[in-house]
Symmetry: none
Subunit: 201 residues, 2 copies
DNA sequence: CCACGTTACCAAAGAAAAAGCGAAAGTTCA
DNA sequence: TGAACTTTCGCTTTTTCTTTGGTAACGTGG
């Protein structure tokens, strides 16, 4: 995408701010006002330039029809599916809906990634609390100490820390009130590894 | 989805509010009344426009048949500046660079928002650990119990929980090993309120 | 230093879209 | 059937966008 001039950048930033705040785009005059431009032609020219450079889109002759193109708003985020809830000791409650949630690009690995919402405080000592979103990378193996989503005996899904101990596997909750699970490798199937956390207040 | 004009946005907002409150949509006349429009034709036109732009749906000639379509409020992400580090007890180390980081849109409020990286474990009991990113909304006031970025005596910046106690202010760390700070309101200047957390493993 | 392309501006006219008005006709449903 | 609504028609006013025709400042390759 082509580089912007200083003025163009300022105007683009203003557009974004305005749209964010009002839910609709500013008119040419409002833009002009903001920057002390007395001629609409000037504003018009700027918008045309921004459009040519691929930062915005406009419908011809439509009022307030400026739209920001994705480069501005969300290029560096990735839409990943929100699959459901995990809690210690209970199966994933799959959310049927096709919900997705935006996740910053640098929280997402290369592979298939999805998001689960945490239920309960089983990982409280790892600073993951009830209601947090964990970003999970779909993997069948993990290293010791990684946080994993594991399927136990084909029916129970939990969020735990993973340790391999001479042939067996220990799934360790990060909550002193809860007991670790020790199981044969054959009974444990990894669903994925936690690569990030997001929380909203 | 096509952009809205000012009026269209106002009307859409009203529709949403009305439906939320009453459980059914307003009649054309009620909409007109709300906006001081004496002609139903005007209202009708607006609704038609909203429908064409894909924000609502109507059944032909049915009373109060307006439905809001999943106003995909852009589950996108927003690029916000990464300002620096906060730690309990030491000034913000401002990062001079113009780094930014992508944050899911629903973690960002309307106002100016930025991101700080947490240093130290002063908020460990609130499940915020060293290295986490906190999303901060630029605000000068806070409610009791909110997590804030506060400037103490003009030089020291910390991340603490905020409590107002008869004229004074208590800044409470969420770590039993650390002491709360009690100060005159005059000496405490709020920089912002934490609205979200992100962590990367 | 100059020609040239780019960016940034201004003023004003012309044109389309958006927003409104009133009245009348048509539907739906209890 | 009548009350409660929605559609439509013809027209006016307001708001916004587009265009035309210039001026001025700046940087770059010649």
């Amino acid at each position: 995408m082509q580089p912007l001039t200083k003025r163009q950048r300022e105007i683009l930033d203003y557009l974004q701010e305005f749209i964010q705040q009002h839910g609709y785009a500013p008119s040419l005059e409002e833009v002009g006002q903001r920057f002390g431009l007395s001629s609409l032609a000037t504003v018009h020219k700027h918008l045309t330039n921004l459009q040519e450079k691929g930062f915005i889109r406009r419908s011809w002759n439509r009022s307030r029809s400026v739209e920001l193109l994705p480069a501005r708003v969300g290029q560096r985020a990735i839409e990943v599916p929100l699959m459901g809830y995990v809690a210690a000791g209970s199966p994933i409650e799959a959310i049927a809906s096709n919900e997705t949630i935006a996740v910053p690009e640098d929280l997402v690995g290369r592979r298939d990634t999805y998001v689960l919402r945490v239920k309960g405080d089983s990982m409280i000592d790892e600073q993951i609390r009830d209601g947090d979103f964990v970003i999970v990378e779909d993997r069948k193996t993990a290293d010791n100490g990684e946080m994993v989503i594991a399927l136990l005996g084909g029916h129970e899904v939990t969020l735990k820390k993973f340790y391999r101990e001479n042939g067996r596997i220990r799934l360790q909750p990060a909550n002193p009130a809860m007991q670790p699970i020790i199981a044969d490798a054959a009974n444990v199937q990894l669903q994925g590894v936690v690569v990030g956390v997001m929380r909203k207040y």
